[in-house]
């Protein structure tokens, strides 16, 4: 889950990282009240999960009530690259002496955590990485050992920040590592991390991606859901706990395993069709999961044929077959279904499907044949 800026700041604050005081609001009235409470100047910031909101007019400085009213009115409802602004973060404005960049993420090649710190903050780190790679001080932290105070100090010194910022930066980066590990994040990024004229260091922005696999030990995350923009298909799939990515084609795809689901999209494309979605029902998918998957595909108006590609390992063929039969009895599936079933208990599964086979429910022995059939039924691209 990607957090909005204000959520990321709440997340950071819960680990003791200094952030600017602010309030999240959904109406112009509340925005003005919050600004008055915080004291001017304030920054009115659109809460959207898309880059370039500043250029799109989604971040404005207000020096008084009148300006706060004006900016809040303009920004709420603003469309930023397809993301409509529904919430604002009203934040006490900060004086900035210098802007830095700091982040932690996993380096999958090194299998260690990678910390990046740069004296060139406030811009895209990719740009810095290209134009001046030496300006980024990197540190690899062994997850079994953690970040030691000596490592943190050496890292901050290597980044050549203003010496005034050294102690504050060590403190924040140590807390950022704790937030990243104990908060189960895939990414924790502060850009910019600022030094104020009076020598304080604090986080002016927050970009946090949480690892969904760790939801079971983070009940506090429940409060952060709900504002994410999803299309109707994505929302339904998410509600049903399915791994779903909406695409633009006409062949609805259901497969077990992410690799096979991606491969199914690839093959449909290669035989002249276009996938309507990626949908992985996962390992051990039960009859109910299959029925839910068909429900989701059924809600997509563009789907002209459905390709169910199952290679059973942990997923058992008879459960998949039962799921399809159950779904057929429960909902009116609009598009014809082509199924390819192999692997664990595939024969039992095919036997269950056998009496139900028709023009609307077809079985093919291989992935390629099933893809060709589904694409033909969908009428090509």
């Amino acid at each position: 889950m990607d957090l909005f800026e204000y959520q990321g700041k709440q997340f950071f604050a819960s680990f003791g990282i200094p952030v600017s005081p602010g309030e999240a609001v959904d109406t112009v009235e509340d925005a003005v009240a919050a600004a008055d409470r915080l004291g001017y100047p304030v920054v009115v910031k659109a809460q959207v999960q898309v880059g370039g909101r500043g250029k799109a007019g989604g971040v404005k400085l207000a020096s008084n009530t009148q300006e706060a009213l004006e900016h809040a009115t303009n920004i709420l409802g603003l469309d930023i690259k397809g993301h409509v602004v529904k919430r604002l973060w009203i934040e006490k404005a900060s004086d900035i002496a210098e802007e830095y960049y700091a982040s932690f993420t996993l380096d999958r090649s090194a299998k260690k955590h990678l910390g990046m710190l740069s004296a060139q903050g406030g811009v895209e780190i990719e740009t810095v990485a290209e134009s001046d790679p030496d300006a980024i001080a990197k540190i690899w932290v062994d997850p079994a050992e953690g970040l030691s105070p000596e490592q943190a100090r050496a890292w901050v010194e290597a980044a050549k920040l203003n010496p005034q910022a050294t102690e504050g930066a060590i403190d924040i980066l140590t807390k950022l590592y704790t937030a990243y590990v104990d908060g189960d994040a895939d990414l924790c990024e502060i850009n910019p991390l600022i030094l104020t004229p009076d020598g304080r260091v604090h986080a002016l922005d927050a970009k946090v991606t949480l690892d969904d696999n760790a939801d079971f030990r983070h009940p506090e995350r429940d409060d952060w859901r709900g504002l994410t923009v999803m299309d109707a298909r994505d929302a339904l799939a998410h509600e049903k706990g399915l791994q779903y990515v909406g695409l633009d084609g006409t062949v609805g795809i259901i497969a077990n395993g992410a690799g096979l689901a991606m491969s199914t999209c690839d093959v449909v494309n290669q035989v002249g069709g276009s996938p309507a979605n990626f949908l992985d029902i996962g390992g051990g998918a039960s009859a109910e999961v299959m029925a839910n998957a068909l429900d989701v595909i059924n809600s997509d108006e563009k789907v002209k044929a459905i390709f169910i590609n199952i290679f059973g390992g942990i997923t058992r063929g008879e459960e998949v077959a039962n799921g399809i039969v159950q779904a057929l009895g429960r909902v009116d599936i609009k598009a014809p279904i082509v199924i390819r079933l192999d692997g664990t208990n595939a024969e039992e599964g095919r036997a269950i499907l056998e009496p139900h086979l028709s023009d609307r429910l077809r079985s093919k022995p291989t992935m390629l044949e099933a893809a060709r059939d589904a694409v033909a039924l969908a009428g090509g691209k």
Binding site: L106, V245, G259, A261, V267, F311
Partner: protein, 295 residues
């Protein structure tokens, strides 16, 4: 010959009960002919399930059975502990099929193993397991789709594509030495390179088929290894040619960010290393059939 497992591998199942995934697949592994010598489940210690004795701990199971490998099929929260318990008991191979382990736990467990238990190989998590056809099957691979006898070694990131690889070769009458599913998570215990290295050293393996997918740089690193260190021919397929950038395709690993980790980049790297690259699993199987015909 084979890599990592053979007819002498003695396996215990962690998370063993009649109704658990470990029970279902562990007993299937046993029925396949794998030496499943015990199960671990503190609540059922002393019992016997379908002829398999149950122990309270991995240590007890190893002492009683001489087990060399373990099959971990416990829920995500308990998996890191189960893996480390197996390593502490001195097992050489730990196969973990569990899906959904937090990345932080995975990274930490991997590095503890590397530091404290360098003799233990972890396969997975979130992987289908490993099979040396006719000798040993640990995990959830349906054994009947695997044809044994070599000369091809299989390594694959995604579970179901691992089966697809076995299936494509079987359709063509091509046998397999060992098939390894390394799993699609961000920090797999065993990498493509670990498997390629072992296949290169295995006299029975004459060629290798490698199935990868978008995300990360494991396939690019494998390509570099193939170019520098391998003289056995390799065929490959990369899933996710049509995947849109920036979207998580199910696996935590399968995400394209910027222009990194794309299917095209991986295929180009593999081609440059002399690998025969197919555009779908069937085509990769056909390329492997051509390679085998010329061996």
């Amino acid at each position: 010959m084979s890599i990592f497992v053979n007819k002498d591998t003695k396996v215990i199942i962690q998370g063993f009960s009649p109704t658990s995934q470990g029970g279902f697949h562990g007993l299937r592994n046993k029925a396949y002919g794998t030496q499943v010598v015990g199960g671990v489940n503190p609540k059922r210690a002393g019992e016997e399930i379908e002829g398999v004795p149950v122990f309270a701990s991995v240590k007890d199971a190893v002492a009683a059975t001489g087990a060399t490998a373990s099959f971990v099929a416990v829920p995500p929260a308990g998996s890191p502990g189960a893996i480390l318990e197996a390593a502490e008991a001195g097992l050489e191979l730990v196969v973990c099929i569990t899906e959904g382990i937090p990345a932080q736990d995975e990274a930490k467990t991997f590095n503890i193993l590397r530091r404290d238990f360098p003799r233990t190989r972890l396969l997975g998590p979130n992987c289908p397991g490993i099979i040396t056809p006719g000798e040993c099957n640990i995990g959830i691979t349906p054994g009947e789709i695997a044809l044994g006898g070599g000369p091809v070694g299989i390594v694959s990131r995604s579970g179901t594509l691992t089966y697809q690889a076995l299936y494509e070769l079987k359709q063509k009458g091509i046998g397999v030495t060992t098939c390894v599913g390394i799993g699609g998570d961000p920090v797999p215990g065993t990498s493509f390179i670990d498997c390629l290295e072992a296949f290169q050293a295995d006299p029975a393996t004459k060629a290798v088929i490698m199935f990868g997918e978008i995300g990360g740089s494991a396939e690019e690193e494998a390509a570099e290894y193939i170019a520098d260190k391998m003289d056995k021919p390799v065929a490959s397929y990369i899933a996710g040619v049509t995947a849109p950038a920036g979207k998580k395709m199910g696996h935590a690993g399968a995400i394209v960010s910027g222009n990194k980790g794309t299917a095209k980049g991986k295929m180009d790297a593999l081609r440059a290393a002399g690998v025969a690259v197919g555009l779908n699993p069937t085509e990769a199987g056909e390329l492997m059939a051509d390679i085998v015909a010329k061996l």
